[in-house]
């Protein structure tokens, strides 16, 4: 008997997280003709590209610091 509530408690945070994420996104798309199936993947690619773009500047900054240190050694 005591095992059951314990199991429920341990998975509660995970479930809550899932519920919040799903409530944000998981509204099923209504079926329409002329839907554009490629658009989602393309937007996702752009979002990822944006993040990678930020890391590009980050890399430039760290490189600049390294180069500045470099000649002194």
């Amino acid at each position: 008997m005591p095992q059951k509530p314990a199991k429920q408690l341990s998975s509660f945070p995970l479930r809550a997280l899932l519920l919040v994420a799903l409530a944000m996104f998981a509204t099923e798309r209504e079926a329409r003709a002329y839907t554009d199936p490629g658009s989602g993947a393309l937007i996702w690619q752009m979002l990822v590209a944006g993040l990678v773009g930020v890391s590009f500047y980050f890399r430039r900054i760290t490189r600049w610091f390294k180069n500045r240190k470099g000649p002194r050694v």
Binding site: R29, D36, A41
Partner: protein, 487 residues
């Protein structure tokens, strides 16, 4: 009176690519290229990466025909008509790949290898300022177990500030999602790709996913996010398709490299694991009716037959683990090995690649072979159209009982098809109805096959073939026949 010339079949040419058309003519593989494609093509042919890739065989060796050769071809009115209709400016000739095959006939391992080649090319060409404008497995054929990129009009000069890979979504649909469906749900490529030219949509796979899968990789990036974002995107807004160029080419290149690396990581994550088992995996070791001696004798019989008649092209029907395909290939033959179990075929492909044997494994069930697909059933020809008369030896070892019993194909039809496929030899194993493997398939319907004896079998063979020799394995009802097609 002179006889009228035999009618030549009309030329069927590919039509989807706005830059040109591929066609076959007198056994040659040719491509008309028009004004849209010429500049990109020349940039590719002149590039270092392009030359290197063609020399390595990763891209099909291609040359532009000179003026005299073009004139000679264009003297044929049908070629002329095609050339004019497509606004041709030049004609290319490609090296011929012996046996064209299509993604729905491949194993998951092969689709993975084709995807790897696609990304290799996309990245190798970046240093020469070139890119890949489409990412579909239909750009690739297999030479033995090795993928070869055949669509040289897929290369384009890249704008240095462009950080997007336009075929990204197509690559996901046609490579990654079919591999994901294979790995997660056990769906074969025949099931996902036969009727879907453009692969699987994220929305379609999303409906199959469990809630817990949706938030974890690779589902999250391949399936869930594209579905959610696509659903929220206004369908009339086409601004996302407009090219956005970055001011800094170095940054664009950095982003593109990262995107392609990310796709490669996902692709490798979806690579089928070696050592998987299906019901057919142990067929060669435990699940057959041969003693070690008999099996040795069978190997000798097949090897000697192929060597004696110098077979150069072999079709192995029901190849299972590819044991006899390998014997044929080691003897110098090019082999097409078909079986309907893509899991054992995955091992055949891996072994062939490792041993560098010219074996092309295809997931084809000869009793339900791949149909002609696409527009007018002509874009991808049927398996039998590609296979008839293309082999000088056909192997049908321990397979006819499956065709006779499970598929209920009459013996006469099996032998007629074999005679259509081979130009010379048929090595066929006779499995009698009292064989335990035969009985395992009949499941109480022995009555249907009671008249099948070795004599009946030989008489049926005699309609198309002559018997060169036969070996009967003592203590079994199995017989191995070497047959030669009647002239």
């Amino acid at each position: 009176m002179s006889q009228p010339a035999p009618p030549t079949p009309p030329i069927t040419a590919s039509f989807r690519d706005p830059a040109g058309s591929l066609f076959r003519y007198q056994g040659r593989v040719l491509r008309v290229v028009n004004a849209i494609g010429v500049a990109d093509l020349e940039a590719f042919l002149a590039s270092q990466a392009g030359q290197k890739l063609m020399a390595a065989g990763a891209v099909v060796p291609t040359r532009a025909l000179d003026a005299a050769e073009c004139r000679e071809l264009l003297a044929n009115p049908m070629v002329r008509e095609l050339y004019d209709a497509r606004g041709g400016q030049t004609i290319l000739e490609h090296e011929r790949i012996d046996f064209p095959s299509f993604p729905y006939e491949w194993t998951a391992e092969m689709l993975h290898a084709a995807g790897t080649l696609t990304l290799d090319l996309a990245q190798a060409l970046l240093s020469d300022g070139l890119g890949l404008k489409d990412g579909t497995p239909y750009n690739i054929l297999f030479r033995g177990p090795e993928p070869v990129f055949i669509d040289v009009l897929s290369f384009e000069r890249r704008q240095p500030g462009d950080a997007t890979w336009l075929p990204y979504a197509q690559f996901v649909r046609t490579f990654l999602l079919p591999l994901l469906a294979n790995q997660a749900y056990g769906l074969g490529l025949d099931q996902t790709l036969t009727t879907r030219r453009d692969g699987l949509e994220p929305e379609e796979v999303y409906r199959w996913t469990k809630l817990t899968e949706r938030l974890r990789p690779p589902f999250f990036g391949l399936v869930s996010m594209p579905t959610w974002l696509g659903g929220r995107h206004k369908q009339d807004d086409s601004s996302i398709y407009q090219k956005k160029l970055l001011g800094d080419p170095e940054k664009a290149r950095y982003i593109l490299d990262h995107l392609l690396d990310g796709l490669r990581r996902t692709l490798d994550r979806l690579k089928p694991a070696a050592g998987k088992n299906s019901v057919w995996s142990d067929y060669m070791t435990t699940n057959n009716n041969y003693t070690a001696d008999h099996f040795q004798a069978k190997q000798r019989f097949v090897g000697e037959a192929l060597a004696e008649f110098r077979s150069r092209s072999v079709l192995d029907v029901g190849c299972n683990t590819g044991h006899f395909s390998a014997i044929a290939a080691r003897g110098g033959a090019k082999v097409v090995a078909v079986d309907y179990d893509p899991v054992v075929l995955g091992d055949v492909w891996r072994n062939a690649r490792q041993e560098k044997l010219e074996i092309l494994p295809l997931a084809v069930n000869l009793t339900r072979p791949s149909p002609g697909m696409g527009w007018r059933n002509q874009e991808c020809s049927s398996f039998l159209d590609r296979a008839r008369g293309k082999f000088d030896a056909v192997l049908m070892l321990a397979v006819i009982h499956h065709m006779l019993v499970t598929e209920r194909v009459p013996l006469a039809d099996i032998l007629l098809l074999a005679a259509e496929l081979t130009t010379n030899l048929l090595v066929i194993e006779f499995v009698a109805p009292d064989d335990s493997m035969f009985q395992r398939l009949t499941r109480g319907r022995e009555e249907l096959h009671k008249d099948l004896t070795a004599e009946v079998f030989e008489a049926e063979c005699g309609r198309h073939f002559e018997i060169v020799r036969m070996q009967h394995f003592e203590g079994t009802s199995r017989r191995l026949y070497l047959l030669r097609k009647q002239a």
